[in-house]
Subunit: 305 residues, 2 copies
């Protein structure tokens, strides 16, 4: 099942050096999920040839402009381009008022249907589910109420050992349950434990988006064993005080969160406009967590490997 | 006195082929005036190296997204970049509500002062004046209340003929009045008519922005003898019906307005996303008005020549 992430913008609030504000797109099983939508997101989609047709869910972390100023333009262009599919938007409650004062997305003439899902803040909650994927909020600590997002593949079915089907003559109708962990029970009698019948299935992958946030070790338990973690690193380590004061994080702090949570990979983003050269961000974070990479715009990361 | 125009975006509502929505900047006597502010305007300023320091006046024609979605981002970035100078915004009354729900530009902590000037609609009005320049609204006919803008240099002083100063021994304190057209009158007695004393001064130039609008011959009298006219040409001539239906104009219609008003030059813009190649717009309009040019983004036009 495909599971990848394309970065469309990863600069912090002040645009600099042609870098764009926060926006990324997850592609999972041919469905696209946009996370944050900084100004120019619709142009970035075109520039990096990300087809917008199957973007049906947009998640907005918080109401600082560099995370949502591109939303109204995108939603409006969807309409102008003749979109018919429903669109789900998840974000702080006030977001819908900001959209509605500009574009009446709830009007019957709007062309397609918009569903707005106001997000709570304070505890991690399940906000989306389909057959393959779960999305949870991650409460972050920032200047304003902010949620990160955890994209978690559902547990994939185990593989039944072919010989065991023959050995126990397993009835067809029990196969599905066994693949999802059931023991072989016939007439209320335990015939064989699941471990004997199956091998582990394909692994389930996950992706956590944590931006914007001050350094917060409590995150580690929510995103435990995440495959890929995007964590903001607005500043280098020498600006630790400024980071705390502005409710942002540093390279080293992002790396510590990655280490504590047992992440497979760390992607750094939300870079300060102070820095033209971003390589030092990666180098510094790698002193703590070697599997660190820069979330540069235009880059696609495979989550399922 | 420098008077030029830089196009930052001239595509119509649906972004296409990397072209950006409406935004342009007039530079007059070292002051910058922005007209419309489509999404991405702040990135376009950087891309085309237009210094934003002396943009103190922004004029918004109407509340279709491709003419203002970039405003809140620009206003917010001014703050983040430490702007101190006052900013004047002119536009439909509702524009300020749209800004305020996103960024509290009237808060004492905002960093710089924003003055909002709600525009009337229906008659051409003077909305800005300094020592050198006048700005008037141009009522346009579109789906929503829309104003174009006419930038008009004030009449420049005439040149006094040096020999006449000696011949009539013109007192120093009368020179300024004579340069602005007064006759030489001493002790209530006419000594010499102005025409004898002076030669014409430098010409005064003007620029008219007419977007978006349906074909409207009434415009010609408001923008009479304009030096440079920007007139929307969303469609080619073969889409005349669609243009009317959508309250837009065609190449030929824009050219007719230029001809009727006696414009020096015509700039076409607000191009439909249907067209990758824009050359046919220019070619078609030139069949009616030869001094037609494409307002391509990144281009600067000299108004004072």
């Amino acid at each position: 099942m495909d599971f990848d992430l394309t970065i469309l913008g990863s600069n912090s609030a002040v645009p600099a050096f042609g870098r764009h504000p926060s926006c990324q797109v997850i592609n999972h099983n041919n469905q696209k999920y946009m996370i944050d939508c900084g100004e120019g997101a619709q142009f970035q989609l075109s520039k990096y040839k990300v087809k917008r047709g199957n973007i049906n869910h947009i998640f907005i972390s918080h109401l600082h402009g560099d995370h949502y100023f591109g939303l109204v333009g995108l939603v409006n262009s969807f309409r102008l381009n003749g979109r018919k599919d429903d669109l789900h938007i998840y974000g702080p409650p006030k977001l819908i008022d900001i959209i509605l004062i500009q574009v009446d997305v709830f009007s019957p003439e709007f062309g397609y249907k918009v569903h707005f899902h106001p997000l709570n803040y304070g505890e991690s909650e399940l906000i989306f589910e389909n057959d393959y994927l779960l999305v949870y909020t991650i409460p972050l600590v920032h200047k304003t109420e902010t949620n990160g997002f955890l994209f978690k593949e559902k547990v994939k079915p185990r593989k039944i050992i072919r010989e065991k089907i023959l050995e126990y003559d397993i009835p067809r109708h029990l196969i599905a349950d066994i693949r999802f962990g059931a023991d072989l029970v016939i007439d209320r009698k335990l015939i064989a434990k699941n471990e004997e019948l199956t091998e582990p299935g394909k692994p389930s992958f996950s992706y956590a988006y944590c931006s914007d946030t001050v350094y917060n070790p409590d995150l580690a338990s929510i995103i435990k064993d995440v495959t890929v973690l995007y964590h903001e690193a607005t500043f280098m380590h020498d600006f630790e005080d400024k980071a705390a004061e502005r409710y942002h994080s540093t390279t080293i702090q992002a790396a510590k969160i990655a280490e504590m949570s047992g992440a497979g990979k760390l992607l750094l983003g939300h870079f300060s406009a102070r820095h033209y050269d971003l390589q030092p961000f990666q180098d510094e974070a790698r002193t703590v967590f070697s599997e660190t990479y820069l979330a540069l715009e235009g880059t696609t990361f495979n989550i399922s490997e």
